[in-house]
Amino acid sequence: MSTDATLSFEEAMEKYDPVLGFEVHVELNTKTKMFSSAPNVFGDEPNTNVNEVDLGMPGVLPVVNKTAVESSIKIGLALNCKIAESCRFARKNYFYPDTPKNFQTSQYDEPIAYDGYLDIELEDGTVFRVEIERAHMEEDAGKLTHLGGSAGRIQGAEYSLVDYNRAGVPLVEIVTKPIEGAGSRAPELAKAYVAAVREIVKNLGVSDAKMERGNVRCDANVSLRPHGRERFGIRSETKNVNSLRAVEHAVRYEIQRHAAVLDSGEPVIQETRHWHEDTRTTTSGRAKSDADDYRYFPEPDLVPVVPSREWVEELRATLPEPPAERRKRLKQDWGYSDLEFRDVVNAGVLDEIEETIAAGATASVARKWWMGEIVGRAKNADVDPGQLGVTPATIVELSKMVEAGKINNKMASAVLDGVLAGEGTPAEVVEKRGLAVVSDDGPLLEAIDAALAAQPDVAEKIRGGKVQAIGAIVGGVMKATRGQADAGRVRELILEKLGVNV
């Protein structure tokens, strides 16, 4: 595989202005497929979630899934689109074994949703509006596994095995208008846009929105033009960029590659590119050609979808609060600083903190636990913080124990470890591990006497009014009690003992 020349991103940006475009495919999480009653389930045994419609057998008739249409309208509304008064399906004809019908049922000239926009907030708070051209309904294709020859690659494969479980799964394809003016923030915007779409469909509850499972898939179009020129350059389309990080990297790479091509005086070839996560590069797929003549025509087996305005308004009324607005509200309610809130969002624990507060914790306690204790543990375990197994009830119980002085913060952290290790509830872990704070003054007074005797000069300073020196004595006591003393009580007892009134 030859490596394409690239310019540095900075040099590419000095010379050229990038224009982006995205096609994002969202798999809906309906119970059944778009046009058949076979189940829409991921990960089942091959070719068991199929019936005669999915296999394109002669004489069968598709019937549209009402819930899929409702989900599509909801997506359109959440993307601020107009919903078509009437729309129809079309056949996109092509020969490839991922569709047993030799066509994909899609929408062509009449998408169900069109002319929308999405305001994308970049990391520093800048808001960038992305215009949505259309969102249309279609069906997913089957899954091919290429075998023989070099492992898993189509090049050199001897044959392919096809599983049609995914064939006919409802998809909504969201297409942007050309995105101009992003400049050097194009890669960041690309990632933020796909993240926003994913968040919206997840928030709507219409898709499982797991990119690693292909529930949300992105094709990224990139072209460059010299600064100041209105006409777009020739674009490439990088297919199936299937993680947020990859979207950012792929756009960045294509900008650098296009810049090198243009610098050499050659024209960019309009083509499909394939993204390679391992090398973070793209390779040429195929050039646009006759094969793209899909001979779309209206699907004769399906009648038009005519969403009444009443139906659309009913669906609009069910829409949840948009994620961006929800974030604004939560930030204000919780009183977090910009930085604190951004860290919470980036750590992906917004829902968890909200649930913990709902369970009775204060906003600052919830943040302290999730950001201070749980995020780090999740990172070590290589799972999402929400999947670590910490429930809001556990956090509330732990923080109550700390407030009541039963355990201190250090112990609370150990108790959390115990809970995660399956040792029971926080109360049970405290019991089993013998972690209760020593509150009987007797052992504490002994330890205090020992600590004062060990550091007579410090004791003298405190007597003389330098109360801030008390830390050294408290530290000695904590060490002697292996951290099980209540530091506040120790401090009180020391001052009492030395006859210092504060």
Partner: protein, 98 residues
């Protein structure tokens, strides 16, 4: 007479994966033109106030509730397949990743 030439027919034949001889291409170019003209006469019959339609029956919103129905077993699904392996359809490798 509709303008369908031999190149148009050859193009369509290639897209549809149909192999056609030189004679067939010549003949089809003429026949298709006649067919297109015949269909065209229908649109002449419709007045200006009649919008184009892809469905002659005035029906819309024919939906199915999202309820799981019947499925095949893998064995049934593969029963008519020319070749299969590991409960999947086996097909020749085709160089195209779309």
């Amino acid at each position: 007479m509709a303008a369908i030439n031999r190149d148009d027919v050859a193009h369509l034949a290639r897209l549809a994966h149909i192999e056609m001889s030189a004679e067939e291409l010549d003949r089809m170019a003429g026949e298709l033109a006649v067919i297109v003209d015949a269909v065209k006469s229908v649109s002449e019959a419709a007045g200006d106030g009649v919008p184009a339609t892809s469905h002659p029956i005035p029906l819309s919103n024919v939906f199915r509730e999202d309820e799981v129905g019947h499925t095949f077993t893998a064995e049934q699904a593969l029963s008519g397949a020319p070749d299969s392996d590991a409960d999947r359809f086996k097909v020749p490798a085709i160089l195209d990743e779309d």
